[in-house]
């Protein structure tokens, strides 16, 4: 049957069709919907695989590994940054290999549409020594996810299924089974310290050799599947175009407006290890090869190395010669530039060419593009900085931090406040300007200790969300307690992993935990670490929050404030609002303190003012207001008042 699904959902249904037994992951754009879909499936179907959002990617990977070592099929999902978190275990498990199919779904983000580095997971895979499949579109994601489990079992290696935003979030019709076929395997884990431990150099050396042997098996196994497709034009001009993974449909699109019958193509969806036999076949016929792939010259480097080993003396066009960029998503303009160079470069390259090479008579994508790239009216260009949603509790916490600092003679420009990953980092944006840094999950607490030991005089504050705290914030806090750093840590606890789409985390309320799962209490954890100066506040109570922050800043040692209120969006999805705030246009003087301090998106300017000298007043969008009341705390003219909602 056919369904319109995004690439991430195709991972879920491919894994179900392969009979996946255990699936785990940590949310991260653009990968999250893969596990979300599986979780949804498991909550509504029987039989179903075991599915969980784990506390972080390393734990998620270890859970999947345990299941696979017991002979079951397991999937683990994460974004590219998550692979770094799990790296320690991934590199070690690569040495041991696997028994049951173990598939790591990792989504990269060329062009950075979700934030974080343009990390190329294919290089990570090469470092670990793991095979990489790189599907071209959602339909291929489904097929290759299924196949990845087979490949993993045949070669006894974890397989990396790598996608990018343009595939992960593309919605297309995908032919699939959309059912779960459990394999019904009995779990069996063989006791074998030579394979499953690293105790001793002899063991590790042997495992390293075994890993290389398995990679050789991967190369041969994939060769027989036709996943990598070479089509020779039959022309003797020696022109080859190589394209990898997500770029394949775009290259096909570009070729449709070129006369390309005399161009040979090699489309790769299995990019590591390189199929050297196939490459060798290409080198026999090729004189000029254009390599199209986003981010790092990964396929290109493998081809160059193989070309050098074979003593091939043609030319390879790609990134290393500076023709194509290593940064960003590839547009049709970039692909067109490559094709044009392939066509013209070849013309000068070989005098033996009797027939015309790739001709661009029908249309020229390169020129077509440049015509379109007229200067955007730069002076008109505006940016909409992202901010906390209306009713977001984090607004209250950052407002209280800024107000507390001001009250004791400090401000956000002379007091270092480290930020962390997730919604809480929006505290760096206007109107707050509170956060100074964002590095990686949990790093706010480690960095803050560094600033303290460096001797920064003013107090140092670390801010971190609840899920991020569970993920990687606990070890640095333990470290701060042990070494006695003078530090205030504010945990902004909204009960959900919100930035990535409201996934549950260990601190999520008991009523939303999965069946058989329970809530883990942040306060108990922090007390258990030996933090004595601990306060729990509600960020909408500004007086209490400001007082708590000032008190903590005046104490020595490690202080923790847990600022607790549920994410406004999850509340809004569940509950009807009972009250909102409105502005009395007769009283508003248009001083704009409410907007200046809160930056709440429910506030807007309207032209109904009578008393204000500008003829304008502030107003509150009754649809957007959640009744948090933070704007009320800003108004000195008593213009903001409550309004009860009926029903």
């Amino acid at each position: 049957m056919k369904r319109s699904i995004i690439g991430n959902q195709a991972v879920a249904y491919g894994a179900l069709a392969a009979g996946v037994d255990v699936a785990s992951g940590y949310p991260g754009t653009p990968s999250s919907e893969a596990l979300t879909e599986l979780l949804h499936f498991s909550q509504n179907n029987n039989p179903s695989p075991y599915v969980e959002w784990s506390v972080n990617e390393k734990v998620a990977f270890e859970i999947a590994t345990g299941a696979a070592w017991a002979g079951k099929r397991a999937l683990v999902t994460m974004k590219m940054s998550g692979a770094n978190v799990a790296a320690d275990s991934i590199l070690s498990v690569a040495y041991s290999g696997t028994k049951g199919g173990l598939v790591l779904y990792i989504a990269d983000d060329p062009g950075v549409e979700a934030g974080m580095p343009e990390q190329d997971t294919r290089l990570f895979a090469q470092w670990a020594g793991l095979p990489v499949l790189e599907p071209a579109d959602p339909g291929r994601v489904y097929e290759l996810t299924r196949y990845a489990f087979e490949l993993s079992e045949k070669c006894e290696l974890p397989v990396i299924l790598r996608s990018v935003t343009s595939v992960a979030h593309a919605k297309q019709e995908v032919e699939g089974e959309y059912t779960y076929k459990p394999l019904g395997r009995k779990p069996e884990f063989e006791k074998n310290i030579f394979r499953y431990t690293k105790a001793g150099s002899a063991i590790c050396i042997a495992q390293h050799e075994a890993l290389l042997d398995r990679l050789a098996v991967v190369e041969r196994t994939v060769r027989d599947t036709g996943i990598n497709m070479m089509v020779e034009s039959g022309d003797r001009n020696g022109l080859f175009l190589v394209a990898a993974g997500a770029l394949i449909p775009y290259v096909r699109e570009a070729l449709s407006s070129w006369d390309h019958q005399n161009l040979s193509t090699l489309f790769l969806e299995s990019v590591y290890p390189l199929d050297k036999e196939l490459a060798g076949k290409m080198f026999e016929a090729a004189e000029t090869i254009l390599v199209l792939e986003e981010l790092e010259p990964f396929v290109e480097m493998q081809l160059r190395s193989e070309a050098s080993r074979l003593g091939w003396n043609g030319s390879i066009l790609g990134k290393l010669d500076g023709l194509l960029p290593r940064v960003g998503k590839y547009s049709q303009e970039v692909i067109g530039r490559g094709l044009k160079t392939l066509a013209s470069g070849m013309a000068g390259h070989s005098a033996a060419t009797s027939r015309p090479v790739v001709s661009s008579e029908r249309s020229d994508p390169g020129n077509e593009e440049s015509a379109a790239e007229q200067p955007v009216a730069a002076e008109l260009s505006v940016k909409h900085p992202i901010t906390f949603c209306a009713g977001c509790p984090h607004r209250g916490t950052f407002l209280a931090v800024n107000r507390a600092l001001k009250k004791i003679g400090l401000n956000q420009d002379n007091t270092v406040v480290t930020g962390d990953i997730g919604c809480t980092i929006l505290g760096m944006n206007p109107p707050f300007h509170t956060c100074w840094t964002e590095v990686s999950m949990g790093s706010s607490i480690g960095l803050a200790q560094g600033f303290y030991w460096a001797g920064i005089e003013n107090p140092v504050i670390a801010t971190i969300g609840d899920s991020t705290f569970f993920h990687a914030g606990i070890p640095p806090l333990v470290n701060a307690v042990q070494h006695g750093a003078n530090l205030l840590v504010i945990i902004l606890d909204n009960g959900w992993t919100s930035m990535t789409g409201f996934q549950v985390n260990p601190g999520t309320s008991e009523q939303f935990q999965a069946k058989g799962a329970r809530r883990v209490d942040i306060e108990g954890i922090v007390r258990g670490m030996g933090v004595e100066n601990l306060q729990v506040i509600g960020p909408f109570d500004q007086e209490q929050s400001i007082e708590a922050i000032i008190k903590a800043l005046q104490q020595e040692g490690v202080k923790v404030i847990i600022s607790q209120a549920e994410c406004a969006l999850t509340v809004a999805r569940r509950e009807k609002r009972t009250l909102i705030y409105q502005i009395d246009s007769q009283k508003c003087t248009f001083c704009r303190s409410c907007l200046r301090e809160t930056g709440c998106p429910a506030l807007y300017v309207t032209a109904n003012g009578k008393k204000s000298k500008h003829g304008q007043v502030m107003a509150i969008d009754p649809q957007a207001c959640t009744g948090c009341g933070l704007c009320y705390t800003c108004c000195k003219f008593d213009a903001i008042h409550e309004q009860k909602l009926g029903g």
């Binding site: 096909r252 049709q332 379109a372 955007v376 900085p385 907007l595 200046r596």
Partner: protein, 201 residues
């Protein structure tokens, strides 16, 4: 027929719903359809872009993303974001512009000038004559624009004639359960508005 449609605006405007309706409806009519929603920051008032590609040739190869200069149709739902999306539109492509501005807090506070609807239409008229200016839209904007789109689509490309008033209405009724009456009313208002625009093009 192969059409690439880009929609741009801000989170909360209902772009994703609009894009889903337009693409699902094309899919039900047997077209090969691809939809890409760039919505990472949608809930936080950030930029949202939807990219739809439709083809009546099931064998035609194309990627999900639309490159600069490759959009046949651009639907701009917020003035500032539509200005930022100019490079998407191909020379002479069709554009539907909505008169709605969301001025960022910082600009309100600094009293910086925000581009006007007139500036927006002027900018686009330098690139295309096929310009539909929706100067007086009604809420909800996404339904109003669906009406405008349904009215003008067949004029943009005959291959889009399957977007007819009656059939899209039926499609809305199937997909949207909440506030159906209000949505249909706004859709009809948009359709009538779109028809009046056609007479001026």
């Amino acid at each position: 027929m192969f059409q690439s449609i880009v929609m741009t605006g801000l989170g909360g405007q209902g772009i994703i719903t609009l894009a889903n309706l337009i693409s699902e409806y094309a899919s039900e009519n047997g077209l090969k359809v691809s939809l890409f929603n760039a919505k990472g920051m949608a809930q936080r008032g950030g930029r949202v872009t939807s990219e739809i590609r439709l083809s009546d040739d099931p064998e035609l190869d194309f990627g999900a993303r639309i490159s600069a200069g490759k959009a046949d149709i651009l639907i701009g739902m917020e003035i500032g974001e539509t200005i930022n999306s100019l490079s998407f539109l191909k020379e002479g492509g069709a554009v539907i512009l909505l008169n709605y501005a969301y001025i960022p807090t910082t600009m309100v506070l600094k009293k910086e000038p925000y581009p006007s609807f007139e500036q927006l239409t002027e900018l686009y008229s330098g690139k295309t004559k096929e310009l539909f200016a929706v100067k007086e839209p009604k809420h909800p904007y996404n339904m109003f624009l669906l009406g405008v789109f349904t009215a003008v689509a067949p004029a943009i490309d005959a291959g889009l004639s399957f977007y007819s008033k009656q059939s899209v209405e039926e499609g809305i009724a199937k997909k949207l359960k909440r506030g159906l009456e209000e949505n249909l009313q706004t859709f009809n208002g948009g359709y009538a508005y779109g028809q009046s625009l056609l007479q001026h093009v």
